[in-house]
Amino acid sequence: MTEEQKAPDVRQLGLEPSDRDGHTLEELSDYLEAGRLPVDPSIEGSPGCQLALDALERLQGLGGQLIEADAAARPEVDDSWVDRILSGIALDARAGRRIPFDESDPSVDFGITEGAVRGLIRSAENAVPGIMVGRSTLDGDVTVVGEPIRIAIEVNAIYGESIPTAVARLRAEIAERLHRQTDLTVTSIDVTVRDIQRISSAAEETS
């Protein structure tokens, strides 16, 4: 049995200049990327150009999928990789400003980092099942004792829990933790609910 190897007929793809009625491949690429607008009658009216555009479009479509396909084909990321990354970063890079305590003795200087305070704010969610805390900001000059500070927090609400109740509880938890662990003068705690999140937990999956 013979196999007939047919070289692809490139002319059928509209890739040779003579097929494209004077339009370059670059031109057609740009035309495609512009969403074929504004409509160019000379391009749209040329069969060679149409073929080339079809081929370019197929290529572009696949191109967008390639990275997903590549990523999906890769092995899972394991703990040793995450460890490798984490051991290479300096955590105090995110420590932020130093927040002083209100201690009058001049021979001591007591403080807490902004990073530690944000950690405190995040930990408040442990007491509030319906909330996951995202980014938090301390507005105001925290380096000066007594300066009024406004706390702004972005959160996701967990599907199924009452949002107003959860938010109120979160505020109370944060206020208490900050009161105990810092000397910040907190004037307000603004909570913005960004999204509702569904969580599948092991408990749900096995029930």
Partner: protein, 117 residues
């Protein structure tokens, strides 16, 4: 550059700090390192056998001590820091050193619920 007036002074201060109720970690000033320990990422202090974690400087005016701490969640952090200060004072008094300036920074507060997990 930190120097110690007496050999092992920084280490003894560090031990006294760690022995204070409510203190869990002493970090080398300026660096926190994290590793995945068990189920979650926990901030731990790096410890080097050749270098103390507490910074101690001595000059003509006296002694300066500086430390970065990881603490338990407590009823009052300021009181905790005062306790640490008292512990440091005692070590220095035992050595006949003074006056002393102490700078303490809380770099991490272990979550209140951490022990219940």
């Amino acid at each position: 550059m930190s120097t110690t007036a007496l050999p092992g002074l920084a280490e003894r201060i560090e031990a006294a700090v760690l022995a204070t109720a409510g203190v869990r970690n002493v970090y080398r000033a300026g660096s926190l390192v994290s590793n995945i320990v068990g189920e979650g990422a926990v901030a731990i202090g790096i410890s080097r056998s050749d270098e103390a974690l507490v910074a101690v400087r001595t000059d003509d005016d006296g002694v300066e001590v500086e430390a970065s701490l990881g603490v338990e969640y407590s009823a009052n952090a300021l009181e905790l820091l005062r306790d640490v200060r008292a512990a440091i004072d005692k070590v220095l008094a035992d050595d006949g050193l003074g006056p002393v300036e102490i700078a303490l920074t809380i770099a991490y507060v272990h979550p209140r619920e951490a022990s219940s997990d």
